[in-house]
């Protein structure tokens, strides 16, 4: 593989990223990092979990992204009384044809916005997460494959909020990235204020179709990852599992479990997508560091000791990044 050629190809293929970002920027003020992460998920074929207090434009961002792509979009508001059938669909009896017919649920879309996923009980969460993993849904005797691109963008309220069900570790691991949304800056908030005072709110227009996304995904897969970068990724993930081996013995009692191999895979894929967004045909350590926290934060189990000392998974990841030698 010739990197020069690949670089040139990526320069051409990734031109839509700027267009997409501009469209998103019409509606979303600030939150550049969140928009980048949504693009990473889109390009690396990974589902994304967004967490933040209500009112931070999580839903708006996902809705806007879906609007910029000519693809089928559906939104599911998760509530405590939601049933799996409300999500995946069910068999209903047709009196006209005197037989059961399949009524597909909202999960049959290219972009699924699972709003406030942690407000639904575990059986509904599992139904969605199974669809995410297998990319297929079984209703009655028939199995239906979900159309590509299939991307679940879930939002989550912090667990301190009332009436929430925490996602099990095994299921949360299926999200490629978990992005924490923070408040906008004062300047950004002033722009948001002004935008919302206008008689007509700005809206995004479709600039891509789903075939473009599938094509872009193929190019992203070709982004070159050197062995040095592979070693860097595995060092970071191994440091979450065996911190003492990486000069971090103090972390041993704080981590109950470290990142899974899925963490390494997702980190490499996300780093490739990030390099693509930056219009590069190869991954550099900056790309790994840029996605590392979002890939790992929901994959590190903290002990009671860590919780008692108010140590978060982000603290651990930052220290690991400051300790593991960059190639």
């Amino acid at each position: 593989m010739d990197i020069k050629e690949l670089n040139e190809r990526i320069q051409q293929e990734s031109s839509f990223v700027e267009l997409l970002s501009l469209e998103m920027g019409k509606v979303i003020v600030g939150q550049r990092e969140m928009v980048d992460r949504l693009l990473i998920g889109l390009l690396a074929n990974g589902h994304i979990l967004l967490e933040g207090v209500p009112g931070l434009a999580k839903t708006l961002a996902i809705k806007s992204l879906a609007n910029t792509i000519k693809a089928k979009f559906s939104r599911i508001q998760f509530t405590p009384d939601l049933l799996p059938a409300d999500l995946i669909g069910t068999m209903i009896y047709s009196q006209k044809s005197e037989e059961f017919v399949v009524r597909k649920g909202p999960v049959f879309a290219n972009f699924v916005l699972a709003d406030e996923i942690n407000r639904a009980p575990a059986k509904v969460q599992s139904a969605l997460l199974e669809a995410m993993q297998e990319r297929q849904v079984t209703i009655g005797d028939h199995t239906y494959f979900l159309e590509e691109p299939f991307l679940v963008l879930a939002t989550e309220n912090p667990l301190e909020q009332e009436g929430t069900y925490p996602l099990p570790e095994a299921q949360v691991d299926r999200f490629m990235l978990k992005v924490i949304i923070g408040y906008p800056t004062k300047e950004e908030e002033k722009i948001i204020l002004r935008q919302n005072m206008l008689a007509e709110s700005p809206a995004t227009r479709p600039v891509l179709d789903s075939a473009d996304i599938i094509k872009a995904r193929e190019v992203v897969r070709e982004v070159y990852v050197d062995e040095k970068i592979e070693n860097y990724i595995t060092d970071i993930v191994f440091a979450t599992r065996y911190p003492a081996d990486y000069k971090l013995p103090d972390f041993k009692p704080l981590i109950s479990y470290g990142g899974s191999p899925r963490a390494s895979i997702n980190m490499a894929l996300a780093a490739k997508a990030y390099a693509f967004i930056k219009r590069r045909g190869y991954v550099i350590p900056e790309d790994v560091r840029a996605v590392c926290t979002d890939v790992l934060r929901h994959r590190i189990g903290l002990t009671y000791e860590a919780e008692a000392e108010n140590i978060t998974s982000e603290d651990i990841i930052n220290e690991i990044l400051n300790t593991v030698e960059v190639p």
Binding site: I3, N7, Y224, D226, K228, I229, R280, G281, Y282, V283, I284, P285, E286, R289, L321, N322, T323, V324, E325, V326, P327
Partner: protein, 333 residues
């Protein structure tokens, strides 16, 4: 007369009235149940017959000493108590138990057999033994005849020559034999190890001698030395571009760590540039550093094969950067 031991036969419980050891008890056991007491003087006479078989032995050979008591009536018989010798020259090897025998013509017979030997050649008399028979209120003492034991020495053939005493036979060592020594060695080794550990233990702060720390070589000197060494390796000339640029970048990152106390080894190129930007005033040096690190990143991560001039210029820029940013120490400090 030798001291005797009384045995109460009716309840078969031996009472040692003289406090002798148990083996002596065996010598003096008597079994009798008195059914009718009549005068011992009436009827048959009592006898103590002592025989020796064989009467002639070689030194150390065993001989059987049999004692037979014949009584007209059942009575309690008191034997002489033997120690482990009969005389100074005659030893008792094994004591026999008294045995009651039934004979047609003799109402009551007791027999006992001891195994004796001697380790001294010559004629050794076995003295007569005194016995007591007790029946009711009557007591009668009677005696055996004395005997003579002939002990012969071993024949020596002077023609075969006189041989020395045989050495003590050795037996093969077993693990059990060496176990105590082995355990001792282990304990000794453990003690030595503990002593070494104790002597080599880290001394407390108060015990540390006050030694001024040797000043480290300046960062730029170390960097110059490493750069010269890398240059002499001629890595890129051998096609090892990746190693050459990786080492070059690492030398500069180490230099920055020492010179500016930043964790450059754990930083990416962009992070290093962001951190170093306010610390280096001259933009030329900043540009030089950025160029070196970016070329190195391209070579390391993007399979980039630089031109010979670029390889050389990276080295020259590295020397210039270190020279231009080195810490200048004046005499005034």
């Amino acid at each position: 007369m030798m001291p005797g031991i009384n045995l109460k036969v009716d309840n078969r419980t031996a009472v040692n009235t003289y406090g002798y050891p148990l083996h002596r008890l065996i010598l003096s056991v008597t079994l009798v149940i008195i059914t009718s007491l009549v005068s011992l003087h009436t009827g048959l006479a009592q006898k103590a017959i002592v025989t020796l078989e064989p009467k002639e032995i070689v030194i150390g050979q065993h001989a059987a000493l049999r004692i037979r008591i014949e009584m007209p009536l059942e009575a309690s018989v008191v034997y002489p108590a033997f120690s482990d010798t009969i005389t100074k020259q005659i030893e008792i090897i094994r004591f026999g138990r008294p045995d009651t025998l039934m004979a047609d013509d003799i109402p009551f017979v007791l027999e006992q057999e001891h195994i004796i030997t001697s380790w001294e050649a010559g004629y050794h008399p076995i003295p007569s033994f005194d016995f007591l028979a007790v029946a009711g209120q009557d007591t009668l003492q009677f005696r055996s005849d004395a005997l003579l034991l002939e002990v012969q020495t071993i024949d020596i053939d002077p023609e075969k020559g006189i041989k020395d005493i045989k050495a003590i036979w050795g037996i093969p060592l077993t693990f059990r034999d060496i176990l105590p020594y082995l355990a001792g060695l282990i304990v000794l080794g453990l003690l030595v190890w503990l002593m070494i550990r104790y002597l080599k233990r880290p001394k407390g702060k108060e015990q540390q001698p006050t030694v001024w720390e040797q000043p480290d070589i300046p960062a730029h000197m170390a960097a110059f030395s490493s750069l010269s060494s890398l240059k002499n390796k001629k890595l890129w000339q051998a096609g090892k571009y990746k190693i050459y640029h990786s080492e070059l970048a690492n030398i500069l990152r180490l230099y920055l760590e020492k010179r500016y106390s930043i964790r450059a080894m754990e930083m990416t190129t962009s992070e290093i540039m962001a951190v170093i930007d306010p610390l280096i005033k001259d933009p030329v040096h900043l540009n030089n550093l950025q160029q070196i690190l970016e070329v190195a990143d391209l070579v390391k991560f993007a399979k980039f094969i630089p031109e010979a001039s670029l390889n050389e210029s990276s080295m020259e820029l590295a020397f210039d950067f270190v020279d231009g940013t080195k810490k200048i120490v004046t005499d005034a400090g």
